[in-house]
């Protein structure tokens, strides 16, 4: 047993639902107890779909347990076919039905329905949502697609986009546009936007574009084997990756990788002097492996951040994740426990977090700006406007999204200049962060003595100061730990909040190294000089 408050991924049958809901003409009969229908609202609410997910649940109850549940499943499958007349059906069990050991595949097979029925085996107690989606799509391709003569013109399939995918809708549109610039048309994009009949004719494409390895790699490998189609290994997230992707496609097709880049603005935006202050900003990355690996490249080579931590929650991709992290001199964090992620972020003291919905909240708790780069996400990250992550427009979107939460250049300089200003002090935070500005009271006589004890007077209470959370032991100094003198503590407060945590850490590290027991203002500045780059 493992105590869990938050999960990055749902159970595997939710992954199967993401495939079924992304498609039309496919129906999923899920052997599941009453209550499992909660998953419908992920699609109708978070993704705002205007139809019910094509899923029939058997919704068995306690009184059905025993021989009855198998009949319940058969009736549900028969009724679902009669009502929805799908081109194909997938059948499977949720976690509870897995325990009662009816065999959905065998039961549905015995019904002899007039459409292909594909059984899914999704081990709910070992695997998770992404595996469920990948395996479902894989089984669909295995059952339905077959070798075919290639189309006359050069075509490809786009693999991996599903319902409830982070920006999948617009990524498919953007990549389709990109391929169009090279003279390639899309044969089938699947699962999102396809039908079982489309899966049947996937074999006629010349190659496959694997957009999301998490949900499409199984299918890509299967099609490579059965239809002889090579698939792309580069995911076009970021400018460099997009260009590499175009070269990869060129090598597969013999077409020219040179395309119109006139709408690509990230490189100039990033080169313009207004972006100079972004140099070396410390960024922490967490999410699914594909998005994090791509984001690290953008952060380091296209925007000029320093990547100070990276990791992913999907163990399936731990190996490429570790390799990518190594290139930045980092140890990858592979975990699905958000408390570990929170600890790692606090320890790294970044100035920007790029992560999921959960990291957004960690950022809020720690007072660190954050932008979302990966699932799981909430309703606000299924926007009405066009906002891909992939291709050239995706790069533009990424630049805006990541930079927006940061304190902008001029604001940062003014904060430094007037850092003791009563209404424009660092604790007030940038205006667009939300929350009301915290006007600092000007104390009649600053009770400085109490500062030395670690307890700050109320006027100096610093809600955005993350250094305390980062070093909980700082309030109760351990024996042998350097102690901050009052003046040094005051000087530390003058440092802008977004670098204060790092400055505190560095100074303490420097003091320990030098065997200094008491940190004075002098120590603070000696440490600053020591760590100067």
């Amino acid at each position: 047993m493992k105590l869990t408050l938050w999960t990055y991924e749902g159970p595997p049958h939710v992954g199967a639902m993401r495939v079924a809901t992304g498609m039309t003409g496919l129906h999923y009969v899920l052997h599941a107890p009453q209550g499992d229908t909660y998953a419908d609202l992920l699609f109708t609410m978070i993704e705002r779909r205007n139809h019910r997910p094509p899923v029939t649940y058997t919704t068995f109850q306690a009184r059905d347990l025993g021989a009855d549940t198998a009949n319940l499943f058969k009736d549900a499958a028969r009724d679902a076919y009669a009502r929805f007349k799908p081109q194909a059906m997938i059948v499977g069990a949720s976690c509870t039905a897995e325990l009662i050991q009816d065999d959905p595949g065998g039961l549905a097979g015995a019904l002899d329905l007039p459409c292909p029925v594909i059984p899914l085996d999704l081990p709910s107690y070992q695997r998770k949502e992404n595996f469920g989606a990948d395996e479902t799509f894989h089984q669909l391709c295995r059952a339905l697609s077959k070798p075919m003569p290639r189309t006359d013109s050069i075509t490809c399939n786009i693999l991996g986009a599903t319902a409830l995918g982070f920006r999948h809708r617009d990524d498919v549109a953007e990549v389709t546009k990109l391929l169009g610039l090279m003279g390639i048309t899309v044969n089938v994009a699947a699962p999102l936007g396809s039908t079982p009949a489309d899966i049947v004719r996937m074999g006629q494409a010349h190659f496959n574009v694997l957009l999301y390895p998490e949900t499409g790699e199984g299918a890509a490998r299967c099609l490579e084997k059965t239809c002889g189609q090579p698939y792309t290994k580069v995911v076009p997230l970021g400018v460099g990756a997009t260009r590499d992707f175009l070269h990869e496609v060129a090598s597969l097709t013999g077409l020219s990788p040179k395309v119109d880049e006139s709408a690509l603005r990230l490189p100039w935006w990033s080169a313009s002097v207004d972006s100079t202050y972004l140099t070396g900003k410390r960024v922490f990355l967490f999410g699914d492996a594909t998005h994090v690996i791509a984001a690290a490249r953008i952060a380091a080579t296209e925007i000029g951040f320093e990547v100070v931590g990276m990791g992913c929650y999907n163990r399936e991709f731990a190996r490429p994740m570790r390799a990518a992290a190594k290139a930045y001199g980092l140890e990858a964090l592979i975990t699905d426990d958000y408390l570990e992620v929170e600890d790692a972020i606090a320890a790294a003291a970044p100035e920007l977090i790029l992560g999921t919905q959960q990291e957004r909240h960690i950022g809020k708790r720690l007072g660190i700006p954050c932008a979302v780069i990966s699932s799981p996400v909430h309703v606000q990250d299924f926007p009405a406007r066009y906002s891909p992550q992939m291709g050239f427009e995706g790069a533009n979107v990424i630049f805006d999204t990541w930079i927006h939460p940061l304190v902008m250049g001029l604001e940062e300089h003014l904060l430094t200049m007037f850092r003791e200003d009563f209404e424009f002090h660092s604790d007030a935070g940038p205006s667009h962060h939300g929350g009301k500005a915290d006007l600092r009271e000007v104390p009649d006589e600053a009770p400085l003595a109490s500062v030395a004890g670690g307890a700050l007077p109320p006027g100096f209470a610093a809600p955005r100061d993350i250094s305390e959370q980062m070093k909980p032991e700082a309030t109760a100094p351990l024996l042998g730990e350097p102690v901050w003198l009052a003046a040094a503590e005051r000087e530390l407060k003058k440092i802008p909040f977004f670098v204060r945590g790092k400055a505190k850490r560095n100074t303490e590290g420097y003091a320990r190294e030098k065997g200094v027991a008491e940190i004075s203002v002098e120590t603070l500045y000696e440490a600053k000089a020591h760590y100067a780059r």
Binding site: M1, K2, L3, T4, L5, W6, T7, E9, G10, P11, H13, V14, P33, Q34, G35, D36, T37, Y38, A39, D40, L41, L42, T44, M45, R48, R49, N50, H51, R52, T56, Y57, T58, T59, F60, Q61, A62, D64, L65, A76, D79, R83, S94, C95, T96, L99, I100, P123, S124, Y125, Q126, K128, Q358, H361
Partner: protein
């Protein structure tokens, strides 16, 4: 409206209406969802679900942003190795509980909540609760109930939870009123204040905000339900010798008045005093409802089953807002509990219990109601087809009981209709 003889209302009511009982696919939450409001109400309780990743994902999806506020609930996710040998599961559970209680020493009540997987593998959580109660006594009391989908639907989770607490309540011979059902704090305070003004007391609440305030129960206890889904708790209290005061549920001006009057009569309160205390809030409630009744009057409404609140709400909408219920679906129908509301609900609607969602959707399409009350899995798809919907879960999560919320309750139903009118004007312009 007549306080004394609701049965003499001009129509015959729905008490004897044959009920359409259906079985099939159900589009409802399981009882685990109750944790989301119960953990807010019981401030020193922790709810530990023993279940699968699906259970954890359900709670996270249903709790929305609340999940980020260090909630006092969690899921002990069963893993492959727990399924292999059952003896192991108890050790595992003891370890997880011990770790949890070390991390949260403020916890006084721990609920082990059963789920579908734990019920199917017959993990004996009742014995585990007993064992853990012994281990962690006297600091923490450990209870057990099932919120599994195979046994409970949505609000029934609260029923199962409260029913599990009843046998452990202290005994008393005092004559006390017990108000049963979790209410938002603000509503609970209004309820207590009205009862105090009427001169009724002492009044105890179940659930209580803290373990130390848990009520006692005995043969002189009378209890009134403020929620219609408390069938098992009702039965458990009767087994302890307490007596139920049947009444319409306190929704709207009429419901609240009838509910209070049922209690007042039991405690021998005079009509004059009752009228003096309730006159002002009754007038306020009637006025607030009237503002929305203009929008609702003459409109038809169709209820999909969700929370068991459907019958009293249909009664409120029909009698105080002038709506015509076409079908009132409820996951379960406790005639003994919702009887007073059924008596008042004007004859006409189909009363359905249980669900076959596809067939019910067919009926809804044929009936073409002005307003459809349904869950979030159905709401947007129905809106896209041109129906106007009110999503039902909000009726459980929003303060809607008693006089001061009567206007808010009506507003929840009028808002989608007003919005539809506003948006169509915009498109036409």
């Amino acid at each position: 409206m007549s306080l004394d003889s609701p049965a003499l209302a001009p129509n015959r009511g729905c008490r004897d209406t044959p009920v359409l009982k259906e079985r099939g696919q159900r589009e409802v939450f399981c009882g685990l969802t109750g944790i989301i409001w119960l953990h807010r109400k019981m401030q020193d309780a922790f709810f530990l679900v023993v279940g699968s990743r699906t259970c954890a994902h359900l709670l996270q999806s249903a709790a929305g942003v609340m999940i980020f506020a260090e909630p006092r609930f969690g899921t002990a996710i069963l893993e492959e190795k727990d399924l292999a040998g059952l003896a192991d599961a108890n050790t595992e559970l003891d370890r997880e509980v011990a770790r949890l209680l070390t991390r949260r020493p403020d916890i006084k009540q721990l609920f082990l909540v059963g789920s579908c997987p734990s019920e199917v593998i017959k993990l004996d959580l009742a014995r585990a609760a007993e064992r853990l109660s012994g281990l962690h006594a006297p600091h923490v009391r450990v209870y057990n109930y099932s919120g599994s989908g195979i046994e409970t639907t949505f609000t029934q989770g609260e029923d199962a939870c409260l029913a599990a607490m009843v046998p452990t309540l202290a005994s008393t011979t005092a004559r006390e009123l017990l108000v049963v059902g979790a209410l938002p704090d603000v509503v609970e305070d209004q309820c207590l204040s009205l009862l105090a003004q009427l001169g009724i007391g002492p009044v105890r609440m179940l659930p209580a905000r803290r373990a130390a305030d848990l009520p006692a129960v005995g043969p002189e206890t009378v209890f009134a339900l403020v929620q219609p889904f408390l069938g098992d708790t009702h039965a458990a209290l009767i087994r302890r010798g307490a007596r139920h005061l049947p009444a319409a549920f306190p929704f709207g001006e009429e419901g609240t008045t009838l509910w209070l009057w049922a209690v007042a009569q039991e405690f021998g309160i005079s009509r004059d005093h009752f009228d003096a205390v309730t006159a002002a809030p009754r007038a306020r409630a009637a006025k607030a409802v009237a503002a929305h009744a203009a929008t609702l009057n003459g409109k038809s409404v169709f209820f999909f089953p969700d929370s068991q609140l459907e019958i009293p709400l249909a009664r409120f909408l029909a009698r105080e807002c002038g709506m015509t219920p076409l079908e009132v679906g409820t996951p379960f129908l406790h005639a003994a509990i919702t009887g007073p509301d059924l008596d008042l609900l004007p004859e006409g609607p189909v009363i359905s219990e249980g669900q076959d969602v596809d067939r019910q959707l067919d009926r809804q399409h044929a009936a073409a109601p002005d307003l459809t009350v349904c869950g979030l899995g159905l709401a947007n798809p129905l809106e896209a087809q041109g129906h106007t919907t009110k999503w039902a879960i909000e009726l459980v999560f929003t303060p809607v009981h008693f006089y001061e919320q009567a206007g808010d309750l009506a507003a929840l139903f009028s808002r989608p209709l007003r919005r539809k009118a506003l948006l169509s004007k915009g498109v036409a312009a």
